[in-house]
Amino acid sequence: MLTLIKRELREFGVIFIVAPLILFFAFVITISASTIIHNEVEYNKFPPLGLPENMVTVFQFVVFLLPVISTLFGAGQMYSDRNKKISTFLVTLATDRRRILIAKLIIGVISILASICLFVITDAVLLRIVPRLIPLDTGFITRMISLALVLNLAGYSVGLSMGWGEGRLLRFVGSLLITILLMTIVIYKGLSLETLSILAILALAFFIRTWQRFMSTSL
């Protein structure tokens, strides 16, 4: 199993560099852009936050950017496997489909957790250095981080499920469209427990679909 995990890491380890880089640039660009636009600090109208407008924009932007990266990563893992016939070869060695898929999932989930951790750390630093009007609503922050995590897992599972097949454009664009559809649930239903539950169920459904497909499909 360790060999398979190392193999996945060797193949897709770049995600651990690319994701933080994208995250960093997203923060810098969004903060710069909103500061240029507003010139002065404007506080968000949303009562529980009491944060500057540009910070809220950054949070929103990153919460929606990370799942896109996760989706593309999941789709990339499966598309690359299918088209380079990697599992077709690996399964003829002393391993099986279950282990191959688990190794993929381990790397995928670790990359998501790493991105979320980075997101949380950056948020914590920003919240510490930026003055607030009212005390921080920790419940809201927790919900936002949970949502980011579940939305990432959902996006990743969509990518895994959609990435297995022919036609690169169809696979990547298709999975992105489904992830965008999932994001609209957040936009319309807000950061409620219901939203989290719906996304968690959808993520689980896509994971099960990926598992079932990978275990039974022709390699």
Partner: protein, 300 residues
């Protein structure tokens, strides 16, 4: 542990409504070298892929080393060496890294033997797999399959795409390895001279049907090609059953008959021929004669 390494029972496979395997059944005893023959598209690779659990059958059962193909564990797979048609491997890996991967994903690894093979083949470790020639990829694939000391070795058209020299080199090594260890081998090919050199049992697939499953000697005993010279003009019909091909010219008749026996010899003798000479047939001759006419004549 049974005495059968490969067991295929009533295997049926449909692709898009088209039947590619039709009730195929055969067994490969332990220690046997089984040659699976057939033209392109006859279903050889499909059988092997189903055996290895790479795809599922429409109906029927396949067992490898007493384990159902769909339930082969990592441990079971570690006992099977496989050389795939086309030797795809993982193209973007460097040879050295790829060998390391295979080594780490094996139950046992005979480093000494592997080093010997690599030295024989002179494979460049720093090149990517996709940069290797087909011959080199075949050699690497065989070396990897052999290094794990497999109980069962499955070779799917391993010499396909190799030039004559590479093919000869590959086969000589395969024969050397086979003779040394006496392992079970399932060998698929449409290059029949290759199979004839190493197989001791033959399965012949024609359009998804297994028309023959017997030893090479039995196959050669059952199919006879005779040159018969008659005192006068050759008769139009010898009233023999299971005639695969018959050519007549003047007093001479060349006839190929399936399931040859003494009764058929007696029928020919009634025509009092001047001479009746057997023309030796290679496996390739038998295959061409039979598949071009009525392959079902070969069925036991």
């Amino acid at each position: 542990m049974s005495d059968t390494s490969v067991n295929v029972e009533n295997l049926v496979k449909y692709y898009d409504g088209r039947c590619v395997l039709d009730e195929v059944s055969f067994k490969v005893p332990r220690g046997c070298i089984y040659g699976l023959l057939g033209r392109n598209g006859a279903g050889k690779t499909t059988i092997i892929r189903i055996l290895l659990g790479l795809e599922s059958p429409t109906r029927g059962d396949t067992l490898l080393l007493d384990v159902n193909s769909s339930r082969l564990s990592a441990r079971d797979r570690g006992r099977i060496g496989y050389v795939a048609e086309g030797h795809h491997l993982i193209q973007h890996y460097r040879v050295g890294g790829f060998i390391e991967l295979c080594k780490n994903l094996s139950l046992q690894w005979n480093q000494k033997f592997f080093d010997h093979l690599i030295a024989t083949f002179r494979l460049p470790m720093d090149r990517r797999i996709r940069e290797l020639s087909t011959g080199m990829r075949a050699q690497l694939n065989l070396a990897l399959a052999m290094a794990i000391n497999p109980e069962l070795l499955i070779l799917d058209d391993p010499t396909l795409g190799l030039d004559t020299v590479a093919r000869r080199q590959f086969l000589e090594l395969a024969i050397d390895v086979i003779q040394r260890d006496g392992r079970t081998i399932l060998f698929s090919s449409h290059i029949l001279s290759d199979v004839e050199r190493i197989a001791d049992r033959i399965g012949m697939l024609v359009a998804g049907k297994l028309v023959t499953d017997c030893s090479l000697e039995e196959l050669k005993r059952r199919i006879k090609k005779l040159q018969i010279i008659f005192p006068d003009t050759a008769p139009n019909d010898l009233h023999l059953t299971e005639v695969i091909r018959q050519q007549t010219q003047g007093r001479e008749m060349v006839i190929t008959v399936a399931n040859w026996n003494q009764h058929k010899q007696a029928v020919i003798d009634t025509y009092k021929p001047e001479s009746c000479t057997e023309i030796p047939m290679s496996l390739e001759d038998i295959f061409i004669e039979c598949t071009n006419t009525n392959p079902m004549l070969l069925t036991v």
